[in-house]
Symmetry: C2
Subunit: 219 residues, 2 copies
DNA sequence: TATATAATTTAGATATAACTAAAAATATGT
DNA sequence: ACATATTTTTAGTTATATCTAAATTATATA
């Protein structure tokens, strides 16, 4: 498989949120930053290889083989991200682009050894689950901070938006995965939240709160 | 730079043994396993980019910028090889092909951090020197075992041929970098050597002996 | 339901990196 | 020094991955 083919497979997987959902040509084009006509060409090729189901004007979906392929690429991407953070002291906002390159390295043994070196991590630095050799993975708690009732406590388990700007904002405010927080109050006017975290009071906009995955805890 | 361009630069560098020697189109084609006509095309491109000096029918040589580029790729290749052996327990005959892929990953920070993780190694698993950030490197002792006088002792510091077959042969015979050996006798008939290594007597053909770099030692 | 709008595909073009076959330049041998 | 052999280049072709512009199909609306 070429890098380009792998990137298309990954895009379709993410757009369908990991299922075999049907995805439109335009949405793939948008995500890949290419033109729809380029997508059409590629879909024909991927279809010929048995990685996607594709019928003209009807959109695409991954075949089981396509899903397996996507999971393998995502496994590589996320393991490399863990490596960069854990072994090379990169920050979580720096790893995506390098992992985008590293995910295309072909060697199953390399990935299995890396997995072992890192002690078989189940989540990447952004809290996203890392598929195992056979595609299995632990579902992350997918509740957003914005959906949690006032007064409850939660632990931060992931980010929905993993753009560098958002991640650096979190760093600046000392919000990291594993942090415990308590929702003190919700401002009716703009839906912002006042939370208690790390002995501090912090105000988070609705936009922030709806990009943080949390797991509710009892105190 | 594309992967292909990088591979050509590396090929020219190795054929010229690291200098700015003039290299023929055919020899590049042979090393790259492509046709001479493909080489001609690429030389025009590399020349336009200021990486090689190229005049029709006159062969190519690297410019100073070309040499710098080559050293940077070789630095990456060799650091990754050390990583694979030291951190992921690969054997020295397995690392070349994976490093061939990893050497094209673009991130200066990644390489510098890797260098640090590995404790700034000066030689790769085959005894080849690893250029530093600025292209500087320690010349390895380039005497071959076949050139050493009978009766002298030496330490194994590298391999000239780093093909998997040769490396596995050395493994089978417990010859590794760092091993001390003494040349007991040279057989006139076929120039094979009887050496004393690791409390054993071993017979090495002229071909083997002329692919092992050693450093002479006094006892 | 006819028509307009949006989405998608086709056709034809470009750039990269390879190839083959033929032409041109250089090198070699008698 | 000339003919031959070798090397190298040119010209034209192929495959990948992209693009633009035009044509086609689907959908949404009046």
């Amino acid at each position: 498989m070429t890098h380009s083919e792998e990137n298309y497979i990954k895009a379709i997987f993410h757009l369908g949120m990991g299922s075999e959902d049907v995805i439109s040509t335009n949405s793939v084009a948008e995500r890949m930053e290419t033109k729809p006509s380029s997508v059409t060409d590629m879909m024909k090729k991927l279809s010929a290889k048995g990685l996607v189901h594709y019928k003209k004007y009807q959109g695409v979906s991954l075949t089981p083989l396509g899903v397996k392929t996507a999971l393998s690429i995502i496994r590589k991407h996320r393991l490399w991200e863990v490596f960069l953070v854990e072994k090379l002291d990169f920050t979580w906002d720096e790893v995506h682009e390098i992992a985008e390159q590293l995910e295309h390295i072909e060697s199953e043994k390399l990935i299995d050894k890396l997995d072992e070196l890192l002690n078989f991590p189940k989540f990447d630095p952004h809290g996203d689950p890392i598929p195992g050799k056979n595609g299995e993975f632990i579902e992350r708690d997918n509740q957003l901070l914005s959906q949690i009732p006032i007064g409850s406590s939660a632990i931060c388990v992931g980010v929905k938006d993993s753009s560098a700007v958002f991640l650096r904002f979190l760093d600046k405010n000392n919000i990291a995965l594993g942090n415990k927080m308590k929702i003190v109050e919700k401002e009716e006017f703009d839906n912002s939240l006042r939370i208690h975290i790390d002995q501090r009071e912090l105000n988070l906009s609705q936009q922030i709160a709806s990009n943080l995955y949390v797991k509710m805890i009892k105190l």
